[in-house]
């Protein structure tokens, strides 16, 4: 057997990356919290591990989620990932079969066509070498697509792609070279030794007829080994770190580990699992306002490179539109939140003055009504709710009629969790002290925080769209369908944030004619008014709003319906379309039934006079 030094670039690279991964993943896992560690220990020998393996096969190898996004893009990723995986697997089986032992060193399998110069004689050997040729062809088809993607990414369903940094470029170049070089090296060896198969043999003979194959065989094997070694060496500083780290992530996610409020081992694993595919760029609405450097992919990149600025961190609506699209399933909003908490932890307010505020009093009512700060700027919603409560003879306590603290969510969205806790505790005492078991909220921002961060045992928190639906189902509200075509604008905090898509639609369907639209539910637009973004300027907010509004206008609705005072306020400024809250529509419909007057959507001026 020939002993040759060309195996060293590959072997050193493989050793380096194996040690590096062992150390860094070990550090991350050891820095998990004690609860998370016990989660791993208790789940490792359960079905969860099997589910994780299945997910790794479906997502990391077959790339099912990318297939759903675009078949060509999916095929490109699958051929590279699944094809390469099979090349390694089948290559090792072939080597084990040839040497008749299970302990074959990696280099002997990878460079087998160099070491084994005689063609295989057994049937199994022939089948294996033929399938290796076909697999290499499969991977090469992916590489060709990857070249082509740089020239025409529209074919792959992508409008934008990420900017690469030096480490990425080195690794990408190495990756693009690995498979063509392997094919060339194997073909040239086949041309000399006649040890090729289906494809490499004819190619080798063709090359032998035109090229001095004897003199280029060695340089080609060197180049192939060098490309592999370079790829392994560049892996830690490139986006391809996602390949090994994603596997760890999928296991931990299946064991029930989630991103916490603080930066820790798991949030680092999430950050390194980002493949920077750029799929999140297309769904981000910030691009409608020409803001192109604050998207999740760039924030994760900056976290990794430790150069994230507040300007980028806080320039995000936290609408969550990018999350359903992420092929790795990263918790993009939560990762951004951990950074915001870290960035603002030094200046949380204490709100001492709340101690002199209202004291909890027991109320004998059916519900508590919490309008929310924003709803106080849209008095039509409060008026409609008051009238509806009266119609359905519901006794209610208007908790934030005056002098009430904010719900705390706007503080949390900019990372001030500690400060928000003070407001939460203050409001919580009042809610619990009232003894009422149902809390109706008009603002989705408040709804989310009441539901998730207030510990309110035995109290049912409902958004007013849910509550009105309940009143309607209990026949406490009359039904009257208005002859109006309505587009419903899904709300980030209620829809993607809390998973409530169905109830507002059921309610609207009874009181108006609801038009289905393209971007709704998980892919619904943000209005642009989000409180989570403190860096965006008003004109940029308007651009985001207008892009969303233009799409709604294409359906020629009579009115736009929302269930969020902030969305209403944001859209109302454009004056392009009448916009009403779901409570207003219900109230108007009932009013029209009582007085049998035709309902006319009011202009802003008329509405103001009436109120």
């Amino acid at each position: 057997m020939k002993i040759t030094p060309f195996i060293w670039p590959f072997t050193i690279g493989l050793l380096f990356i194996s040690c590096f991964l062992l150390i860094i993943i070990g550090i991350w896992i050891s820095s998990l919290s004690r609860i998370d560690k016990s989660r791993i220990i208790h789940s490792i020998f359960t079905i969860k591990s099997w589910l994780a393996i299945r997910e790794i096969f479906m997502e990391s190898l077959l790339h099912r989620k990318i297939f759903r996004k675009n078949p060509v893009l999916g095929y490109m990723h699958m051929s590279l990932a699944f094809g390469w995986f099979l090349l390694i697997l089948v290559g090792h089986i072939e080597a084990c079969n040839h040497y008749q032992t299970f302990s074959v060193p990696a280099y002997k399998a990878i460079f087998m066509r160099y070491f084994v110069t005689e063609p295989s004689t057994t049937l199994s050997g022939k089948i294996l070498s033929a399938s290796m040729d076909l697999l290499l062809l499969f991977v090469l088809s992916g590489v060709v697509l990857a070249y082509y993607k740089r020239a025409n990414r529209r074919l792959f369903g992508m409008k934008k792609t990420t900017q690469l940094k030096t480490g990425d470029r080195i690794a990408l170049t190495a990756l693009w070279l690995i498979f063509p070089l392997r094919f060339m090296a194997e073909s040239v060896s086949a041309g000399i030794h006649h040890n090729g198969s289906l494809i490499s043999q004819p190619t080798g003979e063709l090359l032998a007829s035109v090229l001095p194959v004897q003199s280029i065989e060695m340089p080609l094997w060197w180049a192939y080994s060098g490309a592999l070694g370079l790829f392994f060496m560049a892996l830690p500083v490139s986006r391809y770190m996602h390949i090994p780290v994603e596997v760890v992530l999928i296991f931990l996610r299946n064991y029930g580990i989630k991103v916490q409020k603080r930066i820790g081992g798991y949030s680092r694993i999430q950050v390194y699992s980002c493949s920077r595919c750029g799929i999140c760029l297309d769904s981000c609405q910030m691009t409608h306002a020409a803001i192109k450097d604050t998207q999740s992919v760039y924030v994760l990149k900056h976290i990794r490179n430790k150069n994230l600025t507040d300007e980028k961190l806080f320039n995000c609506l936290l609408c969550g539109r990018c999350q359903p699209d992420c092929p790795v399933g990263l918790e993009l909003n939560n990762l951004r939140m951990t950074q915001r908490i870290e960035s603002t932890k030094e200046y949380n307010s204490s709100y001492e003055y709340l101690k002199n505020g209202k004291i909890a009093v027991s109320r004998q009512t059916e519900v508590i009504y919490f309008a929310g700060c924003m709803t106080h700027l849209t008095p039509a919603i409060i008026k409609s709710m008051r009238e509806i409560f009266a119609m359905a003879s519901v006794k209610y306590w208007f908790m934030d009629e005056d002098k009430t603290a904010c719900c705390g969510r706007p503080l949390m969205q900019v990372g001030q969790y500690e400060a928000a806790q003070k407001l939460i505790e203050h409001n919580r005492q009042q809610i619990l002290g009232s003894g009422v078991k149902k809390l109706v909220v008009s603002c989705p921002i408040c709804y989310k925080v009441f539901n998730e961060d207030y510990a309110l045992p035995g109290i049912m928190v409902m958004h007013h769209s849910e509550y009105l639906l309940e009143l309607m189902a209990d026949k406490r509200l009359p039904i009257n369908k208005l002859p109006l075509r309505v587009v419903y604008h899904d709300l980030c905090e209620l829809g993607r944030g809390s998973g409530i898509y169905h109830q507002p639609r059921l309610l609207l369907d009874e009181y108006a004619e609801l038009i289905p639209i393209k971007n709704e539910r998980e892919t619904a637009y943000c209005c642009g008014g989000s409180l989570a973004n403190i860096k965006i300027q008003m004109n940029e907010r308007n651009q985001i709003r207008d892009t969303a509004l233009d799409e709604y206008l294409a359906y020629q609705p009579d009115m736009l319906a929302t269930a969020c005072p902030l969305c209403k306020k944001t859209f109302a400024k454009s004056n392009k379309l009448p916009i009403h809250d779901i409570a207003e529509i219900v109230y108007m419909a009932i009013l029209q039934k009582d007085t049998s007057q035709p309902f006319k959507s009011k202009t802003k001026k008329e509405e103001k006079i009436k109120l």
Binding site: M374, L377, D402, I534, N539, L566, K569
Partner: protein, 114 residues
Amino acid sequence: MKNFGYTIIKQRTIDYDQFDGRLLNEVLEMEPSFKVCLSCGGCTATCSAGELVSFNVRRMNLLLRRGETLELESEIQKCMLCGKCMLVCPRGINLRNVIMLIKKSIAKYKPVNS
């Protein structure tokens, strides 16, 4: 002495030779929209925190420009960041960012100021 209900006003001279403009400059540089504030007071009228405690958003601008950092620091703590001020502002000033920038800059320059 007979008490007429009047007190002597404390010395409130602002010495502009001692003026530390770093806070002001940083806030205005990071959030230029704050330069166009016309002190209409809409923000103060709608303020949620202002309902609960004596707190005046508009006055933040004055305190910031006068360099009264100590008073600014205790005042700014009262804001609950609900965002109503931003929605009523006729000049579209990004007030929540102004508040966060002031809080951040105070924390940054604190050792010098106090």
